[in-house]
Amino acid sequence: MRATRVTRLNYALCVLLVLSGLAIDARAQVTAARIANSSKEPQNWLTYSGDYAGRRFSTLDQINAANVHSLVVKWVYQTGATGKFETTPLVVDGILYGTGPDNRVFALDAHTGRPIWLYQRQLPADIRPCCGRVNRGVAILGDKVFLGTLDAHVMALDAKTGNVIWDVAAVDYKNGYSFTLAPLAVKNLIILGVSGGEYGIRGFIDAYDADTGQQKWRFYTVPAPGEPGHDTWEGDSWKIGGAPAWITGTYDPETNQLFWPTGNPSPSNRGEGRAGDNLYSNTLLALDADRGKLNWYFQFTRHDEHDWDATQVPVMIDQGAKHLIAQANRNGFFYVVDRASGKLLLANPYGKVTWSDTKDADGRPVAMKGSAPTPEGRRICPGAAGTTNWMSPTFDSQTGLFYVNAREQCDIFSTAPQPYEAGHAYYGSAYFPADDTEPYWGALRAIDPASGKIKWEFRHPSPSWSGVLSTAGGLVFTGDAEGNFIALDAASGKPLWHFQTGGAVYAAPMTFALDRKQYIAIAAGSALYTFSLP
């Protein structure tokens, strides 16, 4: 075991040496080809999930199960901002790019945390963020970084100076639209989905020319009259049907397909007035990346009345010759679908579920009678925040396991009819903590995607909002609501190291390397922490 580790470490150091040599030549430009081959330059983190497949797995193994106990803080960057700090930073050739609340963007010297430039957007006073003035990160392509803003603009900033290169309004924010996700750079396109499922928006996914900011295509996630799927909406309800697309999707360069999940129909907890399946809410969309045309779709939750956004990263995994997508859904089920067709292969609960006890002919869990919210309120598990939410999972190619932070919490769901008014909150719903004797708790769970079974779990005292990173060092990293950043053995779930950051974690970890040294980074509280071996 020891010999293997040493060999692996030496190998990794060699790879790093070679790559850091290469990196100097490649420094000028981040190309789409580099992102597509991100595993070949593990010293960098080029896109939100680390790779196009959404795996958030790194081949770096200098930090491993044998030495992680000696991990120390290398540097800390304070944003000075209040509110949830949700960024996954990117690292390209020694420069780290991250975002903070209120659409701050910062470029730091990744060796030291010293700022190189800062950009702060002047946001209007009347923006409509639903759940905090948050942002999850930038995309990088060429010599630009790309940001979606809380006032629904898409921006390109110069990667070396932070200067604004272009700035386009995607839609009028006053009607409840915003961007919170990290855009995805594909070929020469910047792709992002909109937030606003609590304002009665009509959701969409947009693609912009990275050079000019010109919109190349838009896919509306709620079909207009005459389009397929329109008949799944009652009357004019489609116009305010929601189905936002607020988490970064994944991309298969081989088939040139985007896999992008969508969120709740509006209003979220009240189905009255929008009879039907409400396509494409809570759906995984497979879109042609060049044109934004729909190839196939799989709807996780039909006619949702519990706010089961499907906005969780759809992870591309392979089992032998089988090309699949795995998603731990907010509704409490772990799904595996075929990547070529969207055919459902597996749907297993990975947390406590009381809203569904049956499956349809395709094997899809469906809401049972008596699960819909009522004016008096009805207790349903999972609770309003779901068994998971937007926090990133990881797929570890070495263990073959899928890791996700699960929330064990039930809530009372109640309807609260509201008229629609443009730009006003339009929930149609309310929820309360159930008067349980057992308080909420959470757990990092390792799921075998072949069976959907839980291999191990590590319990948190309260549900965590942290994403998860896995590495070839045999480790998974995650954070918790109590402020701990934790390294666990990927095979057993045994905690091997932890650090109290002093602030709750609402972000996903990432890793990079500089000068033959591996770093782990996590946003917590209002600070970005990096760790390395001494």
Binding site: R128, R133, G377, Q409, S414, S429, A430
Partner: protein
Amino acid sequence: MPVKPDMLLRRTLFWPTAFLISAPGLPALLMLMLASALLGAQDHNPFAGDPKAAKAGEFEFRINCAFCHGLGARGGGRGPDLTRARKRHGDSDAELFRTINQGVAGTAMPPNGTTGQGVGMTDEEIWQVIAYLRSVQVKTPEHPLGNAAHGKELFYGDANCSGCHMLEGKGGRLGPDLTSVGGARAAGYIVDSIRNPSRRLAQGLTEATKEFPQEYETVTVVTPEGKQITGVTLNEDSFTVQVMDANQQIHTFAKDKLRSFKKTRTSLMPAYDTSLLSDKDLQDLVTYLLSVGAK
């Protein structure tokens, strides 16, 4: 919708500043608050006695307020019972409007529109909520039926409440400070908490001195030296626990160093059944707590 996570967590590092919009937006926010304070600075509810407005207010209440104040405004884990005629931060329409619009500094009550969810209520909607609260408010204030002076004697004497609870700066520290409980909870809730303290721990009640809700769970540990210590949790995470023992000593432990660690939601407080506290004495005690809370 991704829900307001700060409000869903217990034991979480709670960011009081999370309700504040950061610097660049602050002047604009203050202007807005000032403007809306002026607009809303009327003394009387334009919807007073309007049942339709009260109904609309009920829905607004569910969406904006019930998470803490409970369905029907009867109080939740964090928020006081609002069906009581007497409100701690002012009973008049204008005072209620101010409380809802500006929040209450130093408490978990945030200003309108800063919960991180939605853009808040309009003035009209706030007045509708007030119309709703008036419609569910008990028509007569809870009469102190018992003898408050005797209740006070019990609190500091035979019932030994003050061994663990503080009231206006006097008493113990093991249980929650009860100075404001009589202003926040209905008599029935207090009775229930005395007769059956384990049924509902003080879950989620955020105190002014804490940035996170304390739940007063009972914990028993055996230290590496073999000493058994029982107390209430002051705070806890995956790796550590902070405990106050029955002698009001604070202990801090790394969980992996302990020989054993057990936590229950059976309260350390004894259940005061009628053999410990007669119905009449209970009534006197509750009357005393209500009288302190009414101050």
